[in-house]
Symmetry: C2
Subunit: 129 residues, 2 copies
DNA sequence: CAGCATCCTATTGGATACTG
DNA sequence: CAGTATCCAATAGGATGCTG
């Protein structure tokens, strides 16, 4: 059966889909979400503003950027700071909690980058049969 | 523009959606996929058979397990070994390439586990407003 | 045991347009 | 600049049933 009748109406925002039981699984999904990884890794070097993030993370839409940012801020992994100015200035940075998770993610990212070609080669070899 | 006309018929299996340009992004998505993380981390200790993986990774369906496994094998991150026996015996293990990526993933997983409660607390604090 | 095929829904996420 | 809202398409992924 499952939620054949559309569920009992629980309608949370994002990523809380079915983690009511295992919190770790929820955090993992937030953190390894398509844009979450890239955002967390990008913020390791220094705090960044919205448009800086958008520029650094290729292919992200404003919608997904703000949506993911909101989620990670709620999770306490990212801190949002607003400086009162005429052109609004908002910057995002890692909290201690966020930094602890961003570190292995950044390591992963580096390793993925240096090995992407090998994976491509493996795929071609595999498909050759 | 984009794929308004349904694309030119390119129909690959999984995860290759729109990574024709950036291989690293594709690898990242495979590796941080919902079940990919868990599979890679689970195989760090030792090789496991299909049913062992299914047992260790709570909530995974056979479909997603075999689908993700197939993808990771194609990527050259996981090695699939078949022992000829009357009840078929297939075991999965990390390749050197897979191990390099599984390590930071496992670190991430550990950190997520120990910090899940803090995230939950942050969410509650955030929602209180 | 170790899977694959089919059917179907929920979630992801892109495009576009608008706001403080 | 820093978003939000709406609409819509693609995909992830669960349920179920079958096979070597």
């Amino acid at each position: 059966m499952g939620r054949s009748a559309g569920g009992t109406g629980v309608r949370r925002s994002m990523g809380d889909a079915f983690h009511s039981d295992c919190p770790a699984r929820m955090v993992l999904d937030h953190v390894t979400s398509k844009w979450g990884v890239l955002i967390l890794a990008a913020l390791r070097k220094r705090d960044l503003r919205f448009f800086e993030l958008r520029g650094r993370i290729e292919g992200v839409s404003e919608k997904m950027l703000s949506q993911t940012l909101r989620m990670l801020v709620r999770d306490g992994l990212i801190r949002r700071t607003v400086s009162p100015a005429s052109p609004p200035q908002v910057s995002y940075g890692l909290t201690a909690l966020g930094a602890a998770l961003a570190e292995p993610l950044d390591t992963l990212l580096e390793r993925v980058r240096t090995r992407a070609r090998q994976v491509l080669a493996a795929q071609r070899a595999h498909d050759a049969r």
